[in-house]
């Protein structure tokens, strides 16, 4: 009984840590954008988490884990199970932990909205994403859907959380188009630098610690202290990602760019999310290193493609989310896959191409679903209500246009002040 309660306690601690990751996202998004949007960015993260929580309670959990079919669950709506059998996790503990993942995916999706989307667009999309996009992919992989049947490995959510969020962000970024001033007429791009690198560094630290809950508590128990191994892999990949991104930026551009390095740490964390329970520590280092290098090139790629992604959500969570998922197809060991009755070993451990194939299938199908459904939702929203604020509102900043006051009132001149005749 004590062990079961400790399992429950550990997952609740994980829940707290993952919820605190929203604080990391607040700092990350605010720091990556300009002062005039800081209050808006910070505030919207909290209220969309509110919307996401209510939707997850009402229908999200049921769509993922309810009795249903290969595509979606269809029971356990308006969740309120007070039972506890004394075995495994209490339903409420499990529910709370699952809810946090849905909120993280939603927050990642909103990275694609930054600095130009209407407040109302956040409200509506928070409801629709939390009901129709995230739960479906989560059901496929974690809720007994068709990909779970194939043995797809995603320990803590490289695909379910990160890729799904990033695909919605990609759809939003494409429909919203670049921010004013991002691209010049000759096609060159401008650096619309974020206003606070200290926020970014603190964001990464907060997310990093939160990730110990994200990955570590995804063991759902403390019995064999496996969470320690998972956390070790998480730490190594994040470290390798930070170092790799810093060096690749330094070598290629001549500048040891701070935001790139910080995104490298996050890339390491995203990359190891799927594989943290399946691979050896040396492989975690490789997975993190490759994630760190990929994030640098991916950011340059999106920039060149004129896809304006201020938070680098597409690169950190999308590109690297894909890599993280596929990485188990190479690096999963026999004892941690077959031994744990979760899929097959990867290619480098004598496995066939089968697991790699399953991972690729998971990425393609989940990514495609998340992108297409998000795209349709956002396109319809754009037609019906408009997603983007007006040019004037964007220039004056969303703090003022959407909320009526600046996040940094003392540092921005009041536009109402008379400027001449």
């Amino acid at each position: 009984m004590e062990l079961v309660l400790m399992d429950n306690l550990w997952v609740v601690i994980g829940t707290f840590l993952v919820l605190l990751m929203l604080g990391g996202f607040i700092l990350l998004e605010a720091g990556s954008t300009r002062m005039k949007n800081a209050g808006h960015i910070a505030g919207k993260t909290i209220f969309t988490a509110g919307i996401g929580s209510l939707v997850f309670w009402a229908v999200g959990y049921g769509f993922i884990y309810g009795e249903g079919n290969w595509f979606i669950g269809l029971s356990n709506f308006f969740y309120g199970d007070t039972s506890f059998s004394g075995d495994g996790l209490s339903p409420a503990v499990d529910f709370m932990f699952q809810m946090m993942f849905a909120l993280i995916a939603l927050t990642i999706a909103f990275g694609g909205f930054a600095e130009r989307a209407k407040l109302s667009a956040y409200v509506i999309f928070a409801v629709l994403f939390s009901a129709l996009v995230y739960p479906v992919v989560a059901h496929w992989i974690w809720g007994g859907g068709w990909l779970a049947d194939h043995g797809k490995q995603d320990f803590a959510g490289s695909t379910v959380v990160h890729l799904t969020g990033a695909m919605a962000a990609l759809a939003a970024t494409i429909i919203l188009k670049p921010r004013i001033g991002k691209y010049n007429k000759d096609g060159s791009s401008n650096a619309l630098a974020g206003h606070n690198q200290v926020y970014l560094a603190l964001a990464v630290l907060l997310l990093w610690v939160g990730w110990f809950g994200f990955n570590g508590a995804s063991t759902f128990g403390v019995g064999d202290a496996f969470f320690g191994f998972v956390i070790l892999n998480t730490q190594l990949a994040a470290a390798a990602g930070a170092v790799a991104a810093l060096f690749v930026a330094w070598i290629v551009t001549g500048k040891a760019d701070v935001p790139t390095m910080l995104n490298g740490a996050l890339a390491g964390l995203v990359a190891i999310t799927a594989s943290c329970g399946f691979v050896d520590p040396w492989a975690a280092v490789i997975i993190g290193l490759i994630g760190g290098i990929m994030v640098f090139y991916s950011m340059r790629f999106f920039e060149k493609m004129k896809i304006d992604d201020p938070i680098a959500a597409l690169s950190v969570h999308g590109t690297v989310g894909i890599w993280g998922t596929i990485s188990t197809g190479f690096f999963a060991t026999e004892s941690l896959s077959v031994g744990a009755e979760w899929g097959l070993p990867g290619l480098f451990y004598g496995g066939s191409l089968e697991q790699l194939g399953v991972q690729v299938l998971g990425v393609v199908s989940s990514g495609a679903y998340a992108f297409v459904v998000s795209f349709i939702i956002l396109k319809v929203m754009d037609k019906v209500m408009g997603l983007r604020v007006s040019e004037e509102e964007e220039i004056v900043g969303l703090d003022l246009s959407e909320h009526g006051s600046y996040g940094y009132p003392e540092n921005i001149p009041n536009p109402d002040e008379k400027q001449g005749a």
Binding site: S188, A191, T253
Partner: protein
């Protein structure tokens, strides 16, 4: 002396140029013929500036009478170093010989008229306000000497930057001895306080990187300049700064980098080998930027406009410049430590 004679030959037409518009038209006509020849191009610039100053002088004289004291109008920056490209901004100052403070208003008016004239004859205003219309750059000999002492005593980033700007100078009009006197005064102070050499090195030690670890060129990443190399910051500065430091150390009055190379003492003969690299750099800039549309443009080289060989040349010129600067730094730091 050689330069002056050539300038006179090119000029020969100053009598016909009576206003800024005529000078500007004359400039447009002449400049296309010399835009790839460093020497002739700079002689032409001298000629344009000299004629502009003469017109400005006449204007001020007709309104305020003759100058109240002997004076020197001097050039700084790339014009001072005889290293202008097709387009350039203006950097200049005035030294007058008088203790009478009231003289300043006359010379400031003259400075303002020259500034206005030069802007009409094709020289952009200086962003940093290094112009004779600014009281900081228009002073009596005594005030200049005090200014030099202040800059040296302060020895902050900004004041040493001002001093370096001042030191790359030559008189274009008026009493050449005034400037020489002030430069010699600066040498005296430097010789008394050799720690200043070290500060002057530190002041220009940061060089914008032009080459990466793998020897690749590092162009600008963002904005309308993306894909371009900033030639001035990445390639010119190491040469110009190194030779200025050596000139200060060896008490060489000459402002031009090429002339500074020539006048290096025998003990620094090894530095002579970099002279040909600097000449190549001057030619490289003129060859590639002769069609520049603005002063900012003059120093921007799009790397995709360069062929393989030209990229190699540019990289070599950068590497040589960095090496020259490093060697200069070593020599100065070594000698400072023995003083």
């Amino acid at each position: 002396m050689h330069n002056k004679q050539v300038v006179r030959q090119i000029k020969g037409i100053d009598e016909t140029l009576n206003n800024y518009t005529e000078i500007n038209e004359w400039r447009q006509d002449k400049i296309v013929r010399v835009m790839t020849d460093h020497q002739k191009l700079n002689e032409l610039h001298d000629s344009i500036i000299e004629n502009t100053v003469k017109v400005a002088m006449k204007k001020v004289q007709s309104e305020l009478g003759n100058p109240p004291a002997p004076f020197a109008f001097f050039l700084m920056g790339s014009a001072g170093r005889f290293e202008q490209s097709v387009l350039s901004d203006q950097d200049h100052g005035i030294i007058y010989q008088s203790h009478d403070e009231s003289c300043q208003s006359y010379f400031l008016t003259l400075g303002a008229e020259i500034t206005n004239g030069l802007s009409e004859t094709g020289y952009e205003l200086c962003d940093g306000q290094v112009m004779a219309s600014n009281p900081l750059w228009c002073k009596s000999i005594r005030q200049w000497e005090e200014q030099i002492v202040d800059w040296m005593e302060d020895s902050s980033w900004k004041s040493l930057r001002h001093f370096s700007t001042f030191f790359d100078s030559r008189v274009m009009f008026g009493e050449t001895s005034f400037l020489t006197e002030i430069k010699n005064y600066a040498f005296m102070i430097l010789n008394e306080q050799p720690r200043l050499y070290k500060r002057l090195v530190e002041n220009v030690d940061f060089v914008k990187k032009g080459i990466g670890v793998f020897g690749q060129l590092l162009p600008e990443q963002y904005g309308e300049e993306s894909g371009a190399i900033k030639l001035k910051q990445t390639t010119f500065f190491p040469y110009v700064n190194a030779l200025r430091l050596l000139a200060l150390k060896e008490n060489i009055l000459e402002p031009s980098t090429l002339k500074r190379f020539e006048q290096l003492p025998v003990s620094l003969q090894s530095f002579q080998s970099y002279e040909k690299d600097f000449r190549r750099l001057l030619d490289f800039r003129l060859q590639h930027r002769k069609h520049a549309q603005s002063y900012k443009d003059v120093h921007l080289i799009q790397i995709n406009s360069l062929n393989r060989e030209e990229k190699q040349t540019l990289k070599q010129l950068m590497k040589k410049g960095y090496k020259l600067f490093d060697e200069t730094k070593t020599i100065i730091e070594k000698e400072c430590s023995t003083w």
